[in-house]
Symmetry: C3
Subunit: 440 residues, 3 copies
């Protein structure tokens, strides 16, 4: 998602297209500007609905990995957060993410007019080379993804009202600020040449930091860690649902990474999108195979939830640069994502950080890995990438901590222990997920 | 879906494209007629498969909201109705929906050659500006959607044979007649300037009236309403499945509304499709947030099934006019859809109308709301819209009543009370949905 | 999928496009080569992600049709096989499938450079008329489909390590060899004019033979066939999940068949894709309606799993030639697919061949039917089609037998009877699918 819409300025690719199509491509490959506009827009629309579908993927993954007594809560959290993200990204998020930083400004915080006006886009906005509304839609679903990541980690012990308040701030301010630094042309982009094609850091690590800080401040689920240091396993209640969620996410990721090419109105762009599809798929495949082999070797059993998280870690790992690597490199990058999952999931438990679905290893640790490796595969420096990782850590952790702590000491974030033990569905929703199925 | 295929006449948009592309758009935006044909067709194909996918959404929503003993029945009803709708819309439905009303005719009923011949379409039918088969496919999935709405309301107490017979008549005749009045260029279109972009009335209210009449004639589920006026709650057996169904429907709605633009072969059309995507999403988001807040405030618990229906009501509400409103208006329109759901779901129970999944509030009441509000946001009069609503009510209610009553007094629509209590899966299908899970 | 990428040679359609666009289409329909390249590539990408999604469909179908104690195993098998298929098709499969047979060679086995290099494709490879990476992606997901078919039949009694080894050989060698004979321009294509548009034989029968041989060599599930010849029914544990899987497969099939047109850069091609969508849908609808009527008449109960398999059999039946038939013919072809399912599912049990999900009737028997009927609807001879069916039978059966037997007599394919009875999830995965739901 290098250089999407800079307000008031024509998109570089779009501008090129319109100014000099004959120079941009050999005559045989020329595409008329009108056709390119339609195709660029279509990429945003297809990519957008695929990434929107990831909201369902997170919902199913999380509904399958929590205990049955918290499943309805997880369902409403997921459909609620997707809705809030859309509203907040319209009200103010987009205007913070793409503020149109003035030259010479540090590029750390800016804000454009809000709520973001898309009224005029029915009439074609041909200067941009694509429909502004299609781009907004595509950007919005990324914002929602960030919030989805948090809901998995802090599941089973956060009340829905404070959770939704956190999501509101995350999608209105915390995430958009990070986006502004890079895709909005701000500090990381201008000062460090930071590179994050589709959001290993901007989306996944942002969600991951917010989740990690939340897990620490909120604390572990009641009974998760015994006094003797024993970790009590709370197995997921519905594995096929979690599997479905993972497949949905894998499917959606073709939109997430592929459409982050931001254009398919030229022969070169659509070829790049194709290569991104292949690399994205192969990184996920690498993550799955590695986790299956590792868990089979280490534990003599192939762990299905590890395999699912292996797929996701592979996907997150390739997200910072899904175009430049060869197929072999993509498999390797994704495979190492799988290794990270296998070894860091138990590590978090050592520190008594209770991550219900494994979102921190998948989205944060693999996101960092994916971001740093761009120094090898892509057009970036290790230092620049590290600065991006660290700046995101500092901002997202600090801002999230402020919000979680404010919630904790005002309305409270946790249900009573009694409510938690009886299940949030009973306490918060009043609708059981599986009212007819007897419990073991 | 204003003015889709009028048989024997070139589509207005298509004709413009072919006759005078240079005038229709500034030179920079020109798209060749061949390219426009491909892109228009592609919109129908993508929109078509997204709306086809909604059949799965209804199946999951309903499978999740019925009791476990009726889940297999609901599954076969949904895959069956989608299949029947396809067959009947080919045999005769399409020919009734698009009869090519002669000038001066009242435009209330007509019929073209049937079964609808698509044999010639392999050879490109370039006059239309799109593939005729792609348009038929897109129209067919709308017909199936109408039938899906009915199956949810009358679930758990209708035998499959009468249900499938009803679906046959609905998709062959009842729904196509309504379509002919508006999209087929008939009475509502020519005499009243009725406006229904993607079918708040034509699809959703039609399904809703058929469902309402069915619910009244068939009667409530055994034990639903106590002698003392008490409503016995029969909770849905699988909430994550219902959540999945809602997400599927939301995703499919981008095709439902977006592709009802009927063209993306111009810069203006694809920009309109993009705006429709945004408005559709935001109306659903408005519906969700409103239902969560309202149920939290009213009942101190956020009701997950209400939130799911809030999303759907938001979607139905924006369907009559998803292009003209601003983003803010869309949120408002969808949010009021959510209000309607929260207040009319209990209302139906007051009248002992037993709507298992809440399809009447969602599809009928929000459909009427969405249709009437076009007088504010779109290009229509309140009276014209009201006439459309009322005419649809009269025709669909009367025709549905005839069919349901004929079934009731011939082969019968309900299983015996004993069969109903033991579950339709046992009586009708012989395959339990969850044979291994013990019941509470 | 007639004539996809022949390495070293320009695709016929692409070559035509580039050499003489003005001659290929009337002036009004002309599409510039660059635009055609983008649209052809886009077809592969959309078709590719839809077929990728079928991997989730198989996973859900199988997870729903096995007993709960084997559900997690089925989940990991499905995500694992999709991953392995991707890796192996890259390492060597594609190079075997499209070896570029020399003229005069028999066309039975060849191999090109491997692993398949897609590094150069970021730069547009305009001679082909589409992105090479997009074509590879589309071909890869077909390879994965073949493996998915096997996993359903041999479910519940194969350990995961031998299963994954079999998948490795199947996707690396067995399937690619079959593909090379036809889509790779080999023996069946050059010597017999064999016709298999999207893979009734190449994909579905190949998977079906591998499954059949596996079922025979591995043997039936413990307790499936009583000493007295009685068949013990092991009902599927989650019917809505199986229904969801079927809907996913139906949706994916629009990509499977539609994108096998291999181009949509001309008005004629996109019209053909549209007709394929319609025929594909109607064949499935025919399969569903026929199975519902037949089971209702024969058993007085409409069998939901039969209806699901009826949809799939209809889809498999139309896959060998989804373009040429009329709509009526498509319904008939699919409907006969449904008949095949109803009568051959019990037949297999007579021979004590234990096919857990009914994949052999659906993919093998309906695949043969679909292949042979092309002699009526398409451009092929009955003898040519029969030779294709038989050659595939001989090769796939023999090669599969070698692999299954080698596994059986080395590492073993079955868990101990005790492990099988307690469930593979316990023995192999250590993660139960539904740990909280009490069993009946």
């Amino acid at each position: 998602m290098k250089q999407p819409l800079l307000k008031g300025a024509a998109l570089i690719a779009g501008a090129t297209l319109f100014a000099q199509p004959a120079l941009a491509a050999p005559a045989a490959d020329a595409v008329s500007p009108g056709t390119a506009y339609i195709l660029n827009t279509l990429l945003f629309l297809i990519g957008g609905f695929l990434v929107m579908w990831m909201a369902a993927g997170f919902a199913m993954l999380e509904a399958g990995l929590v205990r049955a007594k918290n499943t309805s809560t997880q369902c409403i959290k997921n459909i609620g957060l997707y809705s809030i993200a859309g509203l907040m990204f319209w009200v103010i998020g987009y205007s913070i993410a793409y503020p149109g930083f003035a030259e010479g400004s540090l590029g750390l915080f800016g804000i454009a007019d809000f709520p973001y006006a898309m009224q005029g886009v029915g009439a074609a906005d041909t200067d941009t080379g694509y429909s502004v509304a299609s781009d907004w839609f595509f950007q919005m679903v990324f914002c929602a993804t960030t919030a989805s990541i948090v809901s998995g980690t802090v599941a089973e012990r956060v009340k829905i009202v404070p959770f939704f308040i956190f999501v509101t701030v995350l999608t209105a301010i915390i995430y958009p600020v990070v986006v502004s630094w890079e895709w909005g042309g701000g500090y990381l982009d201008s000062a460090w040449g930071f590179s994050d094609f589709a959001g290993s850091t901007l989306v996944h690590s942002t969600g991951g930091w917010a989740a990690l800080v939340g897990a620490i401040i909120i604390g572990a689920r009641t009974g998760r860690y015994g006094a003797d240091g024993k970790v009590n396993v709370f197995p997921g209640s519905n594995i096929p649902l979690a599997t479905l969620g993972t497949f949905i996410l894998w499917l959606g990721w073709f939109g997430f990474n592929g459409a982050s090419q931001l254009a398919m109105g030229t022969v070169g762009d659509v070829s790049d999108v194709s290569k991104i599809f292949v690399n994205t798929n192969m990184a996920a495949a690498g993550g799955v195979v590695v986790t299956i082999i590792l868990t089979q070797v280490l534990y003599k059993k192939a762990d299905v939830t590890m395999a699912l998280n292996g797929a996701l870690a592979g996907l997150v790992s390739i997200t910072a640069e899904p175009l430049a690597p060869s197929v072999g490199q993509s498999i390797l990058i994704g495979g190492i994502g799988g290794v990270i999952v296998v070894f860091t999931v138990p590590l978090l438990d050592k520190f008594k950080i209770d991550d219900v679905v494994g979102a921190i290893p998948v989205h944060l640790f693999a996101g960092i890995w994916g971001t740093l490796i761009v120094a090898w595969t892509g057009d970036a420096t290790f230092v620049g990438q590290l600065v991006g990782v660290l700046l995101t850590m500092v901002w997202v952790s600090a801002a999230s901590a402020v919000v979680w702590l404010a919630l904790k000491y005002t309305i409270g974030v946790r249900p009573s222990e009694e409510e938690e033990v009886s299940g949030l569905d009973h306490a918060e929703i009043g609708v059981e997920a599986y009212p007819e199925f007897a419990r073991t």
